[in-house]
């Protein structure tokens, strides 16, 4: 019995090695994730958005390193009760309630480094760089004001890939995103947000 235990213990590293090898066989990962966004630009809106989606493609160039790209969208919206807004010269005042919308579409190239953590979970840390298209809209009464533009964007992130099967994986991620999008009209100097992703995907 003791011999068997020793044999089993001796075999364990081999088993892990075999599993690790198997896990590293795939070269590509395609992920689709639900994106929850927490806006950090409190001047314009503050409400957490559950209306977001992100698509990631990752190509493994080393067993613990991938490069790829991602895109997606996030739609923030918040209702503001009636209040007065003054023009910068102080001569004009407008009073209304309104809906404010921010709709973001980032395009990023990413690199991710993966840590060994066993068979089921593959934690990672990554960094994305790219650009972001953003629309800002305010609806009040029957009127609408809008502005849009492109900005430079960066996105540090952490997360974990989760083994579901040979083909399918899950993803849980958390990132900070900063973009240089500006809107003089809405007095926005940059757009930043914290995001949480929960997603699934497949590897090939």
């Amino acid at each position: 019995m003791k011999t068997l235990k020793i044999a089993c213990l001796a075999l364990l590293p081999t088993l892990f090695a075999a599993q690790t090898t198997k896990a590293q066989e795939f070269k590509n990962v395609l992920l689709g994730s639900w994106n929850i966004g927490l806006p950090m630009n409190s001047d314009y809106l503050t409400k957490t958005s559950f209306a977001g989606f992100r698509v990631d493609y990752r190509r493994f160039i080393k067993p613990n390193l991938s490069v790829g790209f991602s895109t997606g969208w996030q739609s923030f919206e918040q209702y503001f009760d009636t209040q007065s807004y003054n023009s910068s010269d102080g001569n004009t005042t407008v009073t209304t309630d309104m809906y404010r919308i921010v709709y973001n579409v980032p395009f990023m190239v990413n690199a991710h480094y993966y840590f060994d953590a066993g068979k089921y979970v593959k934690p990672y840390a990554g960094f994305g760089i790219g650009c972001m298209y953003s629309e800002q809209t305010a609806y009040f009464n029957i009127y609408e004001l809008d502005d849009n533009g492109m900005g430079f964007a960066i996105r540090p992130e952490i997360g974990a890939l989760i083994n579901i099967s040979d083909q399918f994986i899950g993803n849980v991620g958390f990132n900070y995103q900063f973009a240089t999008n500006k809107s003089d009209f809405f007095n926005i100097n940059s757009l930043s947000e914290l995001d949480i992703q929960i997603g699934v995907g497949f590897r090939f």
């Binding site: 639900w34 007065s84 001569n91 099967s165 699934v200």
Partner: protein, 212 residues
């Protein structure tokens, strides 16, 4: 393996539905008129003490030939202006008693006027001008501020015109302007109340009009 396919099949529509761009539910927006006010820079409003307002409101509607609004609807709106002017310390006087400022009310409905500039109504056929007969020399209106609005449904406009310096300056300078703009309904009483609310809000956000 099959289990995982089911899992993905279930998750994918949920994720996509949750994530799609939402159309804002603008039903939640209030039906109150948007109230915009403009003041002329450099004006000392406490140098004006008396005012005159006509008991008639200029009216512009693309389905009617009426150019003035009279009766109880007009009275309610004009009374709202009078109450606010009184609250701010102004005294109502007759037209021929040399009022410091004149107040002109106008309502538009179902009219597309994309820009609002000095005296646009001068050129609008049938538009009633409260000062036309009082100033035979017909001084032009002058707006010392930029006010651009789009009126697609309804609006209530209140202009405060400097009469104290009109002769010296040979122009009718609009020293304060208020516009309540937005969707209007078919109920006269509802629209009237919306107009009154807009007037009250316009004065509330313009406390610099106080005479003391």
């Amino acid at each position: 393996m099959k289990k995982h396919h089911y899992l993905l099949g279930l998750l994918a529509p949920i994720l996509l539905t949750a994530a799609c761009r939402k159309i804002p539910n603008t039903d939640e927006l209030k039906s109150n008129l948007v109230v915009a006010t403009n003041k002329a820079p450099g004006i000392q409003y406490n140098s004006y003490k008396t005012y005159f307002i006509s008991d008639t409101i200029a009216y512009l509607d693309d389905t009617s030939t009426d150019s003035i609004l009279v009766g109880s609807t007009a009275d309610q709106i004009i009374d709202a202006v009078k109450n606010n002017m009184s609250r701010y310390g102004y005294t109502l006087v007759g037209r021929n008693q040399n009022p410091d400022v004149g107040l002109a009310l106008a309502i538009t409905k179902n009219v597309n006027v994309e820009t609002y500039y000095a005296g646009w109504w001068d050129y609008y056929p049938g538009y009633w001008d409260p000062w036309y007969w009082y100033y035979p020399s017909y001084y032009p209106y002058y707006y010392p501020f930029t006010a651009v609005y789009t009126y697609t449904t309804g609006s209530l406009i209140l202009n405060m015109i400097d009469l104290k310096n009109a002769v010296a300056e040979e122009k009718l300078t609009v020293i304060w302007n208020m516009a309540g703009i937005g969707a209007v309904g078919s109920s006269v009483s509802g629209n009237t109340q919306a107009g009154i609310d807009a007037i009250n809000q316009g004065f509330s956000q313009s406390s610099y009009l106080k005479t003391n």
